[in-house]
Amino acid sequence: MDLLTVRGVRVFFGGLTALDGVDMNVPAGSIYGLIGPNGAGKTTLFNCISRFQTYANGSIEYRGRDLSNLGPHDVIRLGIARTFQNINLFRSRSTLDNILIGMHSHLGNPLAAMLSLPSGLKREAALRERADRMAEMFGLTDVLDQQVVHLPFGYQKRVELARALAAEPTLLLLDEPVAGCNEEETRELSVIIRNINRERKVTVLVVEHDMSLVRAVCDEVTVLDFGRNIARGSPQEILNHPAVVEAYLGEAVPVRA
């Protein structure tokens, strides 16, 4: 069954066509890759799915539900969580706070929370507990109280992931998760992503530039260029696909040995 269905999506920026009738089907339980050269439209599509971007034509359906009239703050309640390219943490906050904010959609009654009513306090305690477990899972327990802006880059990446997973999503959108990472960090993150997918049964959609990650974790990949589909298949298949090679030929092929 497909968790996410994208059909004929078009996005225009003034005179520029960013997406020109893009299709994509993400099967439930998979790790799906979305790749393409710079300017291909991957980020635009990504933003359409997470509703930060409006689309002119086409449809995006999640579990059969049309997303077009939802705002960016609505999708998490459907189970779609995302990370950001180059990390977008709440810099002045601690690791714990970042994870807790990630669980905002599970806050319950805001009034009860604000006034510290018993139900609110109970909910807060439950959230705390879940945050602790999340931190443990990502090896962040020692830095829970530290301001995230002081953490090393690798830790920040983990906080970003932990925060996205805190709301227990069914679809996790990862926006270039290994941007800026060295080989070891990339390997670590690959393992984490696979664990998330297998153990927590979370479908993952990865937008990535780095082929080594795509090869390591993705079950299936869609390739875009100039806002259109140019290939689809397993990482092995698309890497040898002539259209894909040609699309990337104009720039240094981002494959690491």
């Binding site: 997470s50 930060f52 705002g71 960016p72 703050h73 609505d74 998490i76 309640r77 969580a81 995302r82 950001f84 977008n88 943490l89 709440f90 810099r91 002045s92 906050r93 706070d97 807790l100 904010i101 990630g102 669980m103 905002h104 959609s105 806050l107 805001p110 929370a113 604000m114 006034l115 510290s116 609110g120 807060e124 959230l127 925060r163 709301a167």
Partner: protein, 329 residues
């Protein structure tokens, strides 16, 4: 004791002192403090919006005025007492704050500042020009009565003290909660906040309303304390600027900061009285000094000092323990 423990203890101690104070100080000091408490309440409201949610307001004098005039007009024409006046003032300010929040949704930084300033000046202009508000002549309020009892100066001190404590408690509760986290998330990154499910429109207007209601409450109490309102005080932007100064000098995002900042903003003109020019200069110097040398404000400086003392006190014990264990090994 842990840092949290000390925070709680010192807070309780401070309030204890404030409760006992009228017994040992002359009544005009108690009156001055009550005046200050009203400012503190307003500053707590401003701090919630500016220091915490990151939405800069140079217009909360408008809400202070709304609270003050609401209760003044009610007292004059309907003969109502403090409590209903306070509630109406706060609620009215909150509702208008909601409206202003809606208008200012997409504004940030300089644009938000001018919109809020515009709001305050518009309120001032309305107060000055519509006869019902009696402009510079002002409105006299009768004797204060709370819940049926006549309350005089010292009694009113306690009224304001209680409301201040409640407002601070509410602010603290909000900040510690998920709602408070949503506020600060919006400040740090609106995009990420939205991705987490934080509805910007809802939470921004919520922050505006709560903040406005608190400042309105301060205004209502201010009116009852002085038993007089006039556009001399409320007709321009100085109050709004005062509140912003209080928050910055006292410490953004800090309850203690609101208290210290409000105290500063009240005491400087009070003690420099005739020397208004020096009051201005002192205000300016304090602002700049804080921004250059102590951006976390007076509260931040005190917190750092406290932490250093706290660590120093804890040290001797660990040193002894280490020595003992080294000796054994």
């Amino acid at each position: 004791m842990s840092e949290r423990g000390w925070q709680l203890t010192l807070t309780v101690l401070a309030f204890g002192i404030l409760l006992a104070l009228p017994a040992v100080i002359p009544s005009f000091y108690a009156s001055l403090l009550a005046f200050t408490f009203a400012y503190v309440i307003a500053a707590v409201g401003v701090n919630l919006l500016t220091g915490y949610t990151g939405l800069v307001t140079v217009g909360h004098g408008g809400f202070f005025a709304i609270g003050a005039y609401a209760t003044a007009l009610m007292a004059k024409h309907l003969g109502t007492s403090v409590v209903p006046g306070l509630l109406v003032g706060a609620v009215l300010a909150g509702v208008i704050g909601f409206g202003l929040g809606m208008i200012c949704l997409r504004l940030g930084g300089a644009f938000l500042a001018i919109a809020t300033l515009g709001f305050a000046l518009a309120v001032g202009a309305i107060l000055n020009n519509w006869p019902v508000f009696e402009g510079r002549e002002g409105i006299q309020l009768g004797k204060n009565s709370v819940l049926g009892l006549q309350v005089k100066d010292v009694g009113f001190y306690y009224v304001v003290l209680v409301v201040m404590a409640l407002v601070m408690l509410a602010s603290w509760s909000i900040i510690r909660s998920g709602v408070g986290r949503a506020f600060v998330a919006m400040r740090d990154s609106e995009r990420a906040a939205e991705a987490m499910g934080i509805h910007l429109r809802l939470y921004k207007t919520l922050a505006f309303s709560i903040s406005a209601a608190m400042t309105g409450a301060g205004g209502a109490l201010f009116a009852h304390h002085n038993r007089y309102v006039s556009t001399e005080t409320f007709g321009d932007a100085w109050l709004s600027v005062d509140f912003l100064t209080a928050v910055v000098v006292g410490g953004q995002g800090s309850l203690l900061g609101s208290a210290l900042g409000a105290g500063f903003v009240v005491m400087v003109p009070y003690y420099l009285g005739e020397l208004r020019d020096f009051a201005y200069i002192l205000n300016g110097v304090a602002l700049i000094a804080v921004l250059l040398f102590a951006p976390e404000g007076m509260a931040g400086v005190l917190a750092r000092l406290f932490r250093r003392i706290h660590r120093r006190c804890a040290q001797p014990i660990t040193r002894v323990v280490n020595q003992v264990s080294v000796g054994r090994g």
